[in-house]
Amino acid sequence: MAFFTLRNVNKSFGSFKALNDVSFSAEKGEVVSIIGSSGSGKTTLLRCINFLESVDSGEFFLDGETMFSGPIDKLTEDEKRAKRLSIGLVFQSFNLFPHYSILRNVTLAPELLIRESLKRKGKKKDNPKIYDGIVEYYFQGVGVDEKKINEIIQKKGAELLTKVGLESKINVYPHQLSGGQQQRAAIARAIALNPSLLCFDEPTSALDPELTGEVLRVIKALKSKDRAMIIVTHEMEFAKSVSDKVVFMSQGEIVEAGTPQEIFEDPKTTALKNFLSATKKKEGDEDVRREERPD
């Protein structure tokens, strides 16, 4: 079975069918872009993968493990948390914690997890599935030293922020950053738990056009053989250049899937053809608008 597999996922909101028998898979190291017009179910799909919505039916496997099989309501909170830790999500609206510095935004979750794991170790409530991976990621080769936890986590946090080009901003608060910087900080936060699947929900849609470039460059640089990435995006050029596989959704269904070449150069269905020509026209409009900008 592939590293990432989604099988026959269905999801309705009342009588509205948001996802209709969605299946696709990806290998480790691959980047999958999901494209499609608004309301086609892309974001809902991503939210189901991240346990923010429950599917009505369908299965999801990651790295040989069953993430869900049918609705997730029957999973306990601890089970949900354990499964979630191998998945990261970057939101369209960043959702940074406004009351914490950028560094604290990145270090909060790992610190809570590591402290919890040390507290629970060997006790009845011990849940190695939740904790071992993260402790190993932070303390590989150093050995867990209670006194140095903060130091090590903060060093790692600073490293991650350097990776997204924010090394000079680690102590500022989210509202002091531009949208692009905030999104890069959110990306650093999402990879702080070293997820093996990283999801992006329209990561540049809330940004001014001139700020999308810096974020897209960071996302591109995250492509790694250790994880798979799923990117919901409206940036067609980006999808074309970064993806190993592109999935086109329309009205809750996957209409076409294939390599970027197949999808962008040789669309088979009329739905995809129409979508591509519509976005091309829109991008052309945007170029004109950008040129007209006085600044």
Partner: protein, 232 residues
Amino acid sequence: MTFMTVTQSLLQGFGVTLLLFVLTLIFSLPLGLLISTFTMSKCTPIRVFFKVIVWIVRGVPLMLQLFIVYYLPGMISKAGSNFWGTLDNSFYFDYGIKNGGSFLATVVAFAFNYACYFSEIFRGGIEGIPQGQIEAGQVLGMTNRQIFFKITFMQVVKRILAPMSNEIITLVKDTALARVIGVVEIVMSAYIFTSKALIWPLFYSGAFYLLFVGLLTLLFNYLEKKFSYYRV
């Protein structure tokens, strides 16, 4: 009757006022948080029940609620008719406080009344936190408890500071109601002098309120400044 004796008497009354104020806050803040979680409960019977309670408590004059708490034990059973009276001289309430039973009844009524007001402020603050904040915590593997205390609550504090300062300042002055069931707080202490044809102690008592509310205002200004390092 000299200025000094009046001052001394008013100070004693003000001590009762302050104690009432502090005890009400100590009990009503956590109770209010608890009630707010019930009024946001997903379980409809619980939610409706507590919304009705809040509606009643906010809809009936506080003075009436004082009477109800004070007379309720007697209405329930004959043995309870002097329920609060028996507490008059209990434990520390005889240290300078006459009618300790009335004082306790006032604390109960005030704590419950203010808990209901606070619960609505908390509810507004909690519901005002964008859903995305909670989801961000969830995808980072945080427990609901961690999300509440590390993310939601920290932001709620900033959001509710202004309405809370309003309500708390109102509480300072509401304590004057306690005299209707015999608590000798500062206004009552001043009123006693009218029997000796002295009116000015009443006006004088106002100065104590002004001073205290002034201090509270400074405190809240300080807190607001303290929380201005981030924006929600």
